[in-house]
Each structure stands twice: as C-alpha cells, then as structure tokens.
Amino acid sequence: MANSGFPIPIGSVLALAAILFCIGLFGVLTKRNLIMVLVSMELMLNAANINLVAFSRIQSKPNLSGQVFSLFTITIAAAEIAVGLALLLAFFRLRQSSEVKDLDSHRW
C-alpha cells in the first residue's frame, strides 16, 4: 500500500462502491414503486461519493476536494429528491398510483 495513512485497502473501498452502485442500478431498473426507485438512485449517488472520497485520499498529493465534491453531490441529491418527490406527489394525485409501470404516458 502506497498510501499507508488510509487504513482500508483501496480495492475494498472501490468494491464497496461498485456493489453499492450495482444494487442501486438494479433497484432503479427493477423496483415497481417509484419511491423505491428514488431510494435506489440515492444509493447510486452515494456509491459515487465513496469513490470521490477514496480517490481524493490516494492521490500523490492527498487533498479535500473529493470530500468537498461529495458535499456538493449530497446537496444536489437532496434537491433532486425534493423535486422527485414533488413530481411523485403530482403523479399520485393524477393517477392514484405510485407504480413505475403507470408512468407510461410516452407509450406509443
């Protein structure tokens, strides 16, 4: 390990992020409930955050820009969830449903 200041091996961290991302992706593509889809998206974003933090530490000149960037991401994610839930509410009022399969107004 070149970066001895970091206790966990980088491979493990990246694996964690990858697993987290895949779980999130799987959720986005398969969950029937819109709320679950939004939650899964959060998982994917957080996987990205882990990577950002990890890579900012293993650079030759470690710095905090990764952490700062993940703070941005968390903020954006919060905003995104707010908009997403608002849309979801609007959709629910319209269709009395929060199922993904009912989101088909662009169907042929």
Binding site: L103, D104, H106, R107, W108
Partner: protein, 641 residues
C-alpha cells in the same frame, strides 16, 4: 442609297410601334392610313434601292454590328443588300402596300381592326428584316418572327375553334421544319466558324467545311438538307404542306400577303440565297427537285376537287411553290426567283379577288356562288387576269416563268419531273378555271339563294378594294416581260450580276424552245377547255365524271388522306408517348416515391412498439448497450478484436 436600306424594314416597325401606342381602340382611318403610307414609303425606298443596286452592282454590300460574344466568336446583326435581296424587298413592299390598302375596306368594322394592322405591320417588318439579314442567325430570328405573325393572323378570329386549331397547326408544323433549319445553320456555324453566308460559301467552295464526326461532302449534304427541311416547312412543301390549307381560316388579306406572296416564298428565297451550298451537293439538289416536283403535282391534284374557294387557291400556292423548288433543284436559280416574283403578284391578286367575292357573299363554298360576274365585273376581270397568269397562258406573267421552269427541267435531264410539272400545269389550268366559272358565270346556286338578302346586296367593294386588284392585275399581265426575250432577259442579268458562285446559269435557247412554249400553252388551254366544258357550258356533267372516277375523286377530295395519316401516325404517336410518360410519372415514379415513404412508415409502425413508455425498460436496454460497447472496447484494447 444602299446604306439607307435599313429604313425599308424600319418604317413598318415604326408603324407597328405607333399603332401599339395608339392602342386597340384607335380609329380605323388613322390606323390604316398610317400603315399604308409608311409601307408605301418603304416601297419607294425599295424601288430606289433596287435601281441603285442595278446601276452599281459593286455597291451591294452589308453592314453589321456586334450583337453577342460567344467564347472567342462574335455574333453580329445588321443588314445586307444583294441583288436578290433588293428584288425581294421590292416585291414584298409592293404586295404589302396593296394588301394593307385592301384590308382597310375588307376588315372594316372588325372590333380588332387596329390589332389586325398591328400584326400586319409587324409581319411586314419581320419579312423585310428576314430578306435583308446579313447572316443566317438573323435570318432565322426573323424566319421565326414571320411564323409568329402568321400564327397570330391565322388565329386572328380566335373565337372560332377552327381558326384557333389552324393557328396552332401552322405554327407547330412549320416549327418541325424550323428545328431542321436551326440544326442546319448551327452545323454550318460550327463547321465554318460563322453565320455569315459569304464565309460559309467560301468554305464550301474551298471544300474546307468540316467537323470532327462527319466528312466535308457529307456535311455539306446534311446541312443543305437540314436547311431545306426548314424551307419545306415554311414553303409548305410535301410532306409538311398540311398547315397551309388550314391557315386559310385567317382573314383573306392575310392569306394573300403571308400565305401566298411573301412568307411562304421565304423557303424558296432561303434555298435561292444558299444556292451555292446546295450546288455543292448533288444529292441535296436532287432532293430539292424531287420534293418540288412531287409537291407541284400532288397539290395540283388535290386542288382539282376542293369546294372551298380559298382552299383551292391555297393548294394552288403549294403547287406553285413546288414549281419554284423544282426550278432551284434542277439548278435554274434565276427561274425559281422569277417564278417567285410573278407568283407573288398573280397569287396575291387571286386571293384578294377571292376576298372581294367572300366579302360580298359571305361564303367560301364554290357551290354556293355563281353568276357573280354581272354584279362584280372588276373582280371578275382581275380574277381572270390572275387565272390566266396562273394557268400559264401567253402572254400573262405565269407563262414566262413557268415555261422557263419546264424548259430548264427538260434541259437538265429530268424527264420524269418534267412530266410531273406538265401534268400539274394541266391540272392548274383546270382547277383555277373551275373556280372562275363556278364563281362568276352561270346562275346563283340553290344554296346561295337561301341567303337571298345577302345575295341581293352582293357587289363590288369600294375603290379601296378595287385599286389593289387593278394594280395587281396589271402586274399579273405584264410582269412576265421583266424576264423575256423582249428585254433580253433583264431580270436574269440583274440577278446574275452578283449571283453567288455556283448559281446555275442555263444557256438561253429562245428560238429553239418555241416548241416547248407551244406545248405548255396547249396543255393550259386544254385544262381551261375541260373546265369550261364541265362548269361553263356543261357538256360533261361533273357529277357523273366524279362518280365514274369515284376512287380518284375521293382520294383527291380527301387530300390523299394525309391529314388523317398524320393525325394517326404523328399526332397519335406523340399523344401516346405523352400519355405514356404521364402514366409512368403517375403510376411508376410517383408510386416508387410513395413506396419509399411507406417503407419508412412501415418501419416506424413496427419500431414504435419498442417505445413502451417504461423508463426501466429503456434503462435495461441502454445498460446492455453500454455493456457491449465496454466489452468490445476491452477486447480491442487487448488486441483480440
């Protein structure tokens, strides 16, 4: 004087523009006076030019101005005066003046009187400009312009469907010839580098006319024949003669001026003008002679049985133009031009006299006339002068020129064509006197008596109509002496003063050809006699003769079925091709175009099912796509793919 020759065509143009400015409601008196006066001045100028050219042969020359640059070549316009041109100017202005004068009475009261004079002035201008052209391009320009005027004037009574159809037919049929002429002069231009006659003649004479794809002699023949195709169309020679009889739908003065004296003679003029070109190609000359001979006979045969007075004279015109072509074809340059001149006078006379008759009785059917001689003596006597000239009775004008042509045909060794011409001469005498007797002698026919009121008013037109008739009658009587032994063949000497090289000069044999003269006069008298026996003092009943020769009669009356044959063969083919192309356009190309559209539409119909609206499905597909791309990229990076 010759330097001012451009004023000759200019004056009618001025008249045209003036009338155009006056508008279509201009008073008749002003319109006709201005036209006649200016054309008459043109005539005086032409006479001066004619005399000046005659007395100073070396003064005959041309003046050109730059018109358009084509690569390294310059196209010019201008005017040129030769002996032939000077003669044509004289004939055209003279006949034009008389016809314009005649029309003043003939067209009186027509609501488009001013328009009629506009067109006529435009025609006179175009015709004179054609004659005076220094090169073939300008000649072609005005060649088409006179065709346009003919179109406008034939269709002058546009509301008559027959007139509208005849106008179109005259333009289209002559256009077929014009296409040939255009090709001919373009080939000459490409081969010689100029539209100028003299340059072309020099190249022809020097055998240096050549193009890459065709040898010199073949090129000369091809160009000459193409030019002749133009002459065939304009001069209504077989097989493009079908437009001229139909063109009789136009007012009669138009028939006299355009379709007898001037425009239809332009084809003859063209061949005469380009005579050195034709002379360089025996094949072309033979073609001209045969077309001329066949036309002379064919048209004369058709004229025997026609019922419409103007159509008889129209077929007569075709036949006489055939004589002119025959003369040129056998190499008798001067005689063709001589006959052109005499024919212009006596045929204009016949048409105007016929016009006078039509003006009086409002019918053109010969069998609805009769006995008009007592009511219209001047018309009758002038018509008789024209008829005798046409029949070729000594000493009227037609005798001299026609006899010269017969003589030349025999001398140059064309016995078959001579026989054609002789038979045509017999027919000519017969049909024109058939017209004369049916119209002026005997009693009014039953059909005519039905229109009793009109009939009782029938009479001579005013002096305005009589003066042209009398002048032309005098010319028809004496014009032949311009080129007779009495003045030592003056016209011939005049024409040969600057005749283009190669123009055939035939040795004169006056005392010896008296026999031939006698033959031709006897033939004419026989024709006149037969006509008299059938229609004046009915010894032979025409109806029984027609029944006896039923087949021949029908063939002649139906004009050898040429209109029907063309209608089926040419027009039918054209229409079929047009319909075919249209069908291809609508049912093949358009269908293919629509089919291409439908293919994409069908693809869309099918592919739209992929748009499920399920965002998760899209995600899966996109993910798989990404995966594939990544896999390929990895393999490529590893050098596997």
């Amino acid at each position: 004087m010759i330097a001012y020759a451009w004023l000759v065509p200019l004056l009618p143009l001025v008249a045209y523009i003036f009338l155009l400015a006056l508008g279509r409601r201009a008073p008749e008196g002003v319109v006709s006076s201005v036209s006649v006066a200016l054309t008459f001045v043109s005539f005086l100028l032409s006479a001066a030019v004619f005399v000046a050219v005659g007395s100073h042969p070396e003064a005959a020359t041309s003046y050109v101005f730059h018109w358009l640059t084509l690569g390294s070549r310059s196209l010019d316009v201008g005017f040129s005066v030769t002996h032939l041109n000077a003669l044509m100017l004289l004939v055209v202005t003279l006949v034009s003046t008389l016809v314009l004068l005649f029309s003043r009475e003939y067209m009186r009261g027509d609501e488009r009187f001013a328009v009629f004079y506009q067109y006529l002035n435009l025609f006179v201008f175009s015709m004179l400009a054609l004659v005076i052209s220094p090169n073939l391009l300008q000649l072609y320009i005005f060649w088409e312009m006179v065709g346009l005027c003919s179109y406008l004037l034939v269709g002058f009574w546009y509301f008559k469907p027959e007139a509208a159809a005849a106008a179109k037919k005259s333009f289209v049929v002559t256009r077929i010839g014009d296409a040939g002429l255009l090709a001919g002069i373009i080939l000459l231009f490409l081969a010689s580098g100029s539209f100028d006659d003299s340059t072309i003649f020099a190249k022809v004479a020097g055998h240096s006319l050549s193009l890459g794809w065709i040898s010199g002699q073949a090129l000369t023949t091809l160009a000459a024949i193409l030019v002749f195709v133009g002459a065939i169309g304009k001069s209504a020679q077989f097989p493009l003669h079908v437009w001229l009889p139909d063109a009789m739908e136009g007012p009669t003065p138009v028939s006299a001026l355009i379709h007898a004296a001037t425009m239809v003679a332009a084809g003859v003029y063209l061949v005469a003008r380009l005579f050195p070109l034709f002379a360089a190609s025996p094949a072309a000359l033979t073609t001209v002679a045969w077309i001329g001979g066949v036309t002379a006979l064919l048209a004369a045969l058709i004229a025997l049985t026609q019922r419409d007075i103007k159509r008889v004279i129209a077929y007569s015109t075709i036949s006489q133009l055939g004589y002119m072509m025959l003369a040129l074809g056998v190499g008798a340059y001067a005689y063709g031009v001589f006959h052109l001149m005499t024919h212009a006078f006596f045929k204009a006379l016949l048409f105007l006299a016929a016009g006078s008759v039509i003006h009086a009785v409002h019918t053109q059917d010969l069998f609805e006339m009769g006995g008009l001689g007592r009511r219209m003596p001047i018309t009758m006597w002038t018509f008789l002068a024209g008829a005798l000239a046409l029949a070729g009775v000594v000493p009227f004008a037609g005798f001299w020129s026609k006899d010269d042509i017969l003589n030349a045909t025999l001398q140059t060794g064309h016995p078959v064509l001579f026989v054609f011409a002789l038979v045509a001469a017999f027919c000519t005498a017969f049909y024109i006197f058939r017209v004369f007797f049916l119209t002026f002698t005997g009693e009014p026919r039953p059909a005519a008596q039905l229109q009793h009121t009109e009939w009782s008013e029938a009479g001579e037109g005013g002096p305005v109509m009589q003066v042209p008739l009398v002048v032309l009658a005098v010319l028809a009587t004496v014009a032949g002496f311009f080129n007779s032994p009495l003045n030592g063949y003056g016209l011939e000497r005049y024409l040969f003063a600057d005749a283009p090289t190669g123009a055939g000069v035939l040795g004169r044999t006056f005392p010896e050809n008296v026999g031939l003269m006698a033959v031709s006069v006897v033939v004419s008298l026989l024709g006149i006699g037969l006509a008299a026996a059938m229609y004046w003092r009915p010894v032979i009943r025409p109806a029984s003769l027609a029944n006896g020769l039923r087949l021949l009669y029908v063939v002649s009356y139906r004009k050898f079925f040429l209109d029907e044959i063309y209608g089926a063969a040419v027009v039918g083919t054209g229409r079929f091709l047009a319909a075919l192309v249209n069908a291809v356009d609508r049912y093949v190309i358009a269908v293919i175009v629509r089919a291409v559209g439908r293919i994409f539409y069908a693809a869309g119909l099918f592919l739209k099912y992929t748009q499920t609206g399920q965002i998760q499905t899209y995600g899966v597909v996109a993910g798989c796509g990404l995966l594939i791309v990544v896999v390929i990229a990895i393999f490529r990076a590893g050098g596997v793919l």
